[in-house]
Symmetry: C2
Subunit: 694 residues, 2 copies
């Protein structure tokens, strides 16, 4: 059984174990690293690494790897763009992409790259603003103050500012980013090698993938100068060597209370999994309709399968009785310490029960919240566009701090890029998705629920989905622009059926959201803040916060592990890639690889495992050595890492990366991508010519 | 929230609550019924009801309703047959079926009806045989003695004998049935009214379905005389009136130990649900390929959706913390009583821990057992046929008691009916199912599992499924007969690819099964016997056993319940059926109903709820009054009844039935099915003519 056997420390409860932690850049344990690895990252080193790191706003990590805006990330992080740029005739997912000249670099329809330029602690300011408040006033004030801070900070569209909630509210930090919205595709290998082994090998190790893509950020139509960037290591990395990973872990839940974990384990995650499993079945079979249908649905299928496998692993960790018992014990210990001090008890004693009560309430509203407001009932790009337009017409005229949070001034650049993205939308696929989600809406709320009756009327989900998708004009970006510009009047006058649906749903969506935010979420937030503060008071602040898709640094080394009594070696080779080839998808290598097998140095390291503490969102993160040179590219975690959402188990939890040498070898000998190579290793110009392997 | 709020008594632990219990005919609490309802069923009454009840061997209940072999069951119980008799041109699922003359009654390809003629207690004989044994010897001996008993009893193909394990092994009873294998379709309404409301309304109440089908058992090519049968009630049934349900509940798990329940809750059920959810997605989308694909996959989709919804409800009950805590408390109480007595402790004290250990072991083998041996990896009718042929060649030459249990002499009539069934098999659908299950095999065991490598080789699941299904001859019944007749030699010589696959899998399948039976299942069986005996000694024998798809009798009355603070009335009317019509599937009434709306007495009771304790397998059971007259036809339970697998909650658990008056009204005025009507109510001949409703 692959699962957590040694239990990790708990965020904010006990000191972190060696290698544990996704540390913020303003609280990195450099001394601890020195103690263990003999190298102490300096402030200068940390600043350089921070500024050379990048975030893909859609949910991934990346890095700057040249002075001319070249960005390295995973293929699976860029595949939305690669698919959007493809057509039935020019299928870059199947065949890969390489811009032979700069002019061939093609803009991604809706991609945003962020570079973290500054972190400012705003805890005091927010605490002062919300002092003494609870419920709706607490929620409104917190939201308004956050918006205010972000607006003050975001002085142009090139600046992005997010107030990040850390330690469940124990700290609030303002993260200020340089924002790039003109991002172009430079190089991508074929999907078959980027995701070699497909879903069966996903989250597994040993592994043999070239999950890499290069992008370039532009400014004013030219490659953006990126002074801060990582150099490429000449030596790569070997077993036992120190590795840092700088990236954006999306979410961990190590600091949640037992009540919150139980809710995840018993209510939220099982339902999510069932929904995803069914959707996977629909997508798998939709792909059989034909090659074009396969092409246009592959990205979503990848996303669903990836999430499904990840969430199965996470849930397995929570269902591990021994693991969960330790979570319970840790909470009990903290609560006893709080109870033992009259002062602490008065401030924090009630927080856990308040959170538990809110979780109970959440059970009663979660279906309506999810299906009416959060998109489960209307899974359609066109619906999302309609909803954005309908709400924008109401929200944008309001004062900034009174808006729904996603309509804040600070969010406008991202919002508009998304709304006016020229990425293609495929009606056949939209109908399938919308029919599916309307069916789930009816199933989960029940056919007699007033909202379901109001929305479906006498139509079946298929009839309605077909009517809406075929009748709407929203595939046309100009139609969106006109409605956006026309504001409330244009929305009210519009006969577009998708706009009318979004307008019909809007009041119900706002109502369930309002109830959730004011009566449940605000209670959880407020009391989570208290729990976090109690932890600080009891255990100190030398701890890392849960992941929040903000920049973090982790450390560790290239290291194998034991599985089913056998040692798993930490590094695979290119030879292993060929051994795994069967000729049948997903174990079929692309023709370029079969044709060049003879030229490759087959003992080149392909992928490697390291005990850095990472999680989903870290995909695309650079792996660097102590000289801040690229030695790898994170693309996955092993199956044991999935429980990392709830606790870190150093004995088996591993990050999985493409080795820097494999990237060079492939760019050079398989793809002849000399433009990229020369930029990665400028000192080596001109690039080494391909030669037959010995 | 719809879920168990009041906790039921636990099988064999405490005396049953009022209305609780699926009682065996040899231990029915007549006195208790008298006490509560003033009517005491006599032995004669019980015998008559038992002999008028019927079982569909495929997994449903039924009843004899005329002296000429007329059998009433649910449409959803007969829909396998109805689909098998249909073609693209003559679609009886869509259009219904009515044999206007006896000559039009059409034989179902593989249906078996059983009538319970005798129950004999064989506990002593089996206990004596297995005395002092454990592990493999226990298992072998128990199995051999059961086979021997069954063979002695089954004196002809018209006699079916099953040794039934009751009270988890506390009792063994021999159930002797009269077996009918020539079963013909007489009448079925359209699917649209039989399953009106479809999956959204399934397991819901109020309800408006005409889920009825009439079959007829034949003997020697003529309608079989059935002296014992139910008469039709003239008055139907009203709120508050006493109702009995005589049928075959399939499985309850009320007597399981906590370790077994935890295994179900945390391991088995979540995985099953995910598999079914994904399969549902595949099937839903497969149906979009075209009307013929929709037709041939509908029965399976119904089965999957039905099981999915049922299992979600069951799992929700187990995840109810309060409910589960009571299960734990009840077990602790029993164990304490056992521990308190040196004698009991010696005999039974270790049983619970032994079961818990076996459950732990099961976790490690469950995937291999399920995917290699129990069919999850090879979900295909053609594969099942191949496996049956391959194993029959090995098993049938063995002495009866040494065979795998399903190859016993006593099982041969059913086995052959299944194996040589002329029911159509559709290659396109087979490929889809087989590809899906091979993909799951690879996913669950992993692509590097030796068995997966051996089976798939370098083929993808799709390539392999296509090659096997298109290459096999097993769709042809004659090919099966030849291989069966040719025995081991014919199997070994066969180049049929499906036979070769089954032969390749066979040793692995036997090995995992042997390990499971000898080291896990036998431990659970043996120790469950001990737990059952401990319960008898502590609490007495005035209890009912868990359901085992053997004939049971439950009692109760027509009764509403409270849901979300509102009273749900127990009886719906035909008028409600029309009100629920939207014109769109699954809320579209068939044309026959729309055309005859004006003729119907719209206040005729349509469906009703009663607090009888039933569960899946009871579908098709007759609901009778104290005169043993038909007043309804069970077709469902409400959503709250799903937790009934683990405990009965009288306050909300309801059986849902078609009212006898609705059946008469529809047969008469919608379908003009006078042949059936006259047979159901012989005294009323000739049937009442249809007349316009007032």
């Amino acid at each position: 059984m692959k699962r957590l056997v040694v239990i990790a420390a708990l965020v904010g409860a006990l000191p972190a174990l060696a290698e544990e932690g996704m540390w913020t850049y303003n609280n990195f344990p450099s001394a601890k690293v020195k103690q263990q690895y003999g190298f102490e990252p300096s402030q200068q080193w940390l600043d350089k690494v921070r500024l050379s790191s990048a975030r893909l706003a859609g949910g991934c990590s990346a890095s700057f790897v040249s002075a001319n805006g070249l960005v390295m990330t995973n293929h699976h992080c860029a595949r939305g763009c690669i698919e959007q740029l493809s057509t039935g005739e020019k299928d870059y997912i199947a065949n890969g992409f390489y811009a032979k000249t700069q002019a061939d670099e093609t803009q991604c329809p809706a991609m945003e790259v962020n570079q973290l330029s500054e972190i400012v602690d705003v805890t005091e300011r927010l605490n002062t603003a919300t002092q003494g408040l609870t419920g709706k006033p607490y929620n409104d004030t917190l939201k308004a103050e956050m918006s205010k801070i972000e607006k003050e900070c975001a002085t142009s569209a090139q600046v992005r500012c997010d107030v990040v909630t850390l330690y469940q509210g124990g700290r609030y930090n303002l993260y200020k980013y340089r924002r790039f919205q003109d991002v172009r595709l430079v190089f991508a290998p074929e999907h078959a090698i980027a995701f070699f082994g497909g879903d069966p090998d996903n989250f597994e190790f040993p592994r043999y993938d070239l999950d890499v893509t290069f992008l370039r950020v532009y400014q004013d139509g030219k490659p953006a100068p990126t002074e801060h960037h990582f150099k490429w290591s000449r030596a790569g990395v070997k077993e036992g060597e120190l590795t840092f990973i700088s990236g954006h872990p999306g979410r961990t839940s190590r600091g949640l209370t037992v009540a919150e974990l139980e809710y995840q384990r018993d209510v939220a995650m099982p339902r999510q999994l069932l929904l995803m499993a069914e959707m996977r079945g629909v997508l798998t079979e939709f792909q059989k309709r034909g090659p074009e249908q396969k092409r246009i649905s592959s990205n979503m299928l990848f996303g669903v399968e990836n999430a499904l496998k990840a969430n199965k692993g996470r849930l397995e960790a929570l269902r591990d009785k021994q693991f969960f018992a330790q979570k319970v014990a840790a909470e009990q210990e903290l609560r006893q310490k709080v109870e033992a001090s009259p002062e602490l008890k008065k401030k924090y004693g009630a927080a856990w029960d308040e959170i538990a009560k809110a979780q109970e309430q959440l059970k009663h509203v979660r279906k309506e919240l999810g299906y009416i407001e959060q998109g489960f009932g209307f899974s359609s790009q066109l619906y999302n566009i309609a909803k954005a337009l309908v709400r924008a017409a109401d929200e944008l005229p309001k004062e900034n701090s009174k808006r729904l949070r996603e309509f804040n001034e600070a969010n406008q650049p991202a919002f508009k890029a998304q709304l006016f993205s020229p990425a293609p939308i495929y009606p056949e696929f939209e109908i399938t998705r919308l029919e599916f989600s309307l069916t789930k809406l009816r199933e989960e709320l029940g056919p007699d629920h007033p909202f379901v009756k109001k929305v479906l009327g006498k139509e079946s989900p298929l009839t309605m989905a077909t009517r809406l998708v075929n009748g709407t004009q929203l595939r046309d970006v100009k139609a969106r622009q006109a409605l956006f510009a026309g504001g409330k009047k244009a929305i009210e006058a519009s006969q577009d059926p998708m706009i009318r649906l979004a307008a019909l749903v809007d009041p119900d969506g706002r109502a369930v959201r309002k109830n959730f935010e004011e009566n449940i979420d605000s209670v959880i937030r407020k009391n989570s803040e208290l729990v976090a503060k109690a932890k600080f008071e009891v255990y100190g602040t030398n701890v890392y916060p849960d992941a929040t898709f903000s920049l973090r640094l982790s450390y560790g080394s290239v290291k194998g592990y034991m599985e089913d009594g056998k040692k798993v070696a930490p590094i695979t080779t290119m030879a292993g890639t060929y051994e795994r080839h069967t000729g049948e998808d997903p174990f079929a290598l692309p023709k370029t690889w079969l044709d060049t097998q003879g030229k490759l140095k087959l003992n080149t390291p392909m992928n490697f495992a390291s005990n850095n503490d990472i999680i989903g969102g870290n995909s695309g993160s650079p792996v660097i050595n102590k000289n801040a040179e690229i030695v790898g590219l994170v693309f996955d975690g092993n199956i044991q890492s999935l429980g990392g959402e709830f606790g870190f188990d150093e004995s088996v939890n591993r990050a999985v990366s493409v080795h820097s040498e494999a990237i060079i070898e492939a760019l050079q000998k398989v793809y002849g991508a000399t433009r990229v190579l020369d930029e990665l290793r400028p000192s080596k110009q001109p690039s080494v010519k391909a030669k037959p392997a010995g």
